[in-house]
């Protein structure tokens, strides 16, 4: 297999030295959905030293349209995504050192891994985990790359501690009800475009070509032919609690995390967002109905029928997930709808 990386080492900015560096780096991939599948495949083929993949879900039929590592057999077997991804990635590159973590990306799990990784790739579907990654990245000095997409629209940002503004500088708070693939739909090319941006930046970071890191927030709409780069150098906020002069890393603190509780004897998990919020139930109801969900409701709550669960969502963001006692699964169901 001596020829294996020849086309990549021929690429001058990587070369033999770059390839050697790639082969010694450890990348943490959080989320093994559409972005996770694609980014993992690029890195496995590129010869990354070690990959750790965290995911809490299992493979479902509706994933196959865009999540490139998975097969119909994985759906039949209901394989956890992290395990199915590991199996496929080892078929692609048997030399890959890969660890699959099946579970929730909690502050403890992420902080532990931060001590040994060179880069974090955000392939999650919610802002709560992204803000958590952002704080852990600043605290432990590990770069991370934000990526997200919905319908034909996608975006990405590279965050290097000490060099660029962080996600909290730009957003200031967790945007609730960000559009998700379960509410706005998604096409494969939008996923691929985000993967291309994230993985190109990942290769630059792995070969330590800091000069060529993109300094902008990129966003695009492939259906409507828009491509925009926003300069962010002036956005660095010295008062930012994640990367400013006085840091508290707020999203590593438990009071800023979604609260969950299993309701005894009811086969139900209650989910409460960390802060007061008002959800536009009418808008959400319209969106979900157009996607074929069966929705009932009144001005105070929505009842959303799903394959195996029923979610009752209140205007203040609180939800009851009926039909499960599994907190991790319930949180996943909740964040798929609310982001």
């Amino acid at each position: 297999m001596s020829d294996r990386y020849s086309r990549q080492t021929l690429f001058a900015p990587i070369g033999f030295e770059g390839q050697r560096m790639i082969s010694q780096k450890h990348v943490l991939l959080i989320g093994a959905g559409a972005l996770g599948s694609g980014n993992a495949e690029v890195l496995a083929r590129a010869g990354v030293g070690k990959l750790t993949i965290i995911d809490r879900d299992y493979v479902e039929e509706s994933n196959l349209q865009r999540q490139q590592l998975y097969t119909e057999q994985d759906v039949i077997e209901k394989l956890p995504k992290a395990a199915a991804a590991k199996k496929r990635l080892l078929e692609i590159n048997h030399e890959l050192n890969i660890k699959a973590v099946i579970g929730d990306a909690t502050p403890e799990v992420i902080e532990d891994l931060c001590r040994e990784v060179d880069l974090i790739l955000d392939c999650t579907d919610n802002f709560e985990t992204r803000m958590l990654i952002n704080d852990a990245s600043q605290k432990h000095g590990v770069p991370w790359i934000y990526g997200a997409c919905v319908s034909s629209y996608g975006m990405s940002l590279t965050i290097i501690p000490g060099k660029t503004p962080c996600l909290n500088c730009l957003l200031k708070k967790i945007p609730l009800q960000g559009m998700t693939c379960d509410t706005g739909g998604i096409i494969g090319p939008a996923v691929q475009m985000v993967i291309a941006h994230q993985s190109a930046e990942a290769l630059k970071i792995l070969v330590e070509d800091w000069e060529h890191i993109r300094q902008t927030f990129v966003s695009f709409d492939l259906w409507n032919n828009q491509y925009t780069n926003i300069k962010i150098s002036k956005a660095k906020d010295e008062g930012c609690l994640s990367c400013g002069t006085t840091r508290t890393y707020p999203y590593l603190q438990s009071e800023n995390r979604t609260k969950t509780a299993v309701l005894c004897g009811r086969d139900t998990v209650q989910i409460r967002p960390p802060h007061d919020t008002v959800i536009s139930l009418a808008t959400l109801s319209k969106q979900l109905k157009s996607l074929g969900y069966e929705i009932k409701g009144n001005p105070y709550l929505l009842s959303i029928e799903m394959a195996e669960q029923r979610m009752v969502l209140f205007q203040d963001g609180r939800a009851l997930i009926h039909g499960t006692k599994d907190i991790t699964h319930a949180k996943s169901v909740y964040q798929r709808i609310l982001g």
């Binding site: 989320g31 959905g33 559409a34 972005l35 996770g36 955000d122 392939c123 999650t124 579907d125 919610n126 802002f127 992204r130 990526g147 997200a148 997409c149 919905v150 319908s151 629209y153 996608g154 975006m155 730009l170 957003l171 708070k173 945007p175 609730l176 009800q177 960000g178 559009m179 998700t180 693939c181 379960d182 706005g184 998604i186 985000v194 927030f217 966003s219 709409d221 409507n224 828009q226 925009t228 780069n229 926003i230 300069k231 962010i232 002036k234 956005a235 536009s280 808008t283 982001g339």
Partner: protein, 77 residues
């Protein structure tokens, strides 16, 4: 006049790629409020803003000819 570029759900809600508005002297927050009402746009409070392709805070004042963009962060992945 100022051109206001809309992305993602904002574009769908307004039914246009951009809108034109006299925004000189107004802040980014003023413009958000104005267009939210006029075009029934939602979730503008968590939308990122840019003036002339540079990230802008809510209190930034808009000058003559500035092009403003509202970019809603999305969470799918």
């Amino acid at each position: 006049m100022n051109k206001i570029m809309l992305f993602a759900h904002l574009r769908d809600e307004a039914g246009a790629e951009y809108i034109e508005l006299q925004a000189e002297g107004k802040t980014v927050a003023d413009v958000k409020e104005l267009i939210a009402e006029k075009y029934n746009l939602t979730k503008l409070d968590s939308t990122m803003s840019a003036i002339n392709e540079e990230f802008a805070e809510d209190d930034e004042v808009i000058q003559k000819g500035d092009i403003i963009a509202f970019i809603p962060p999305v969470s799918g992945g």
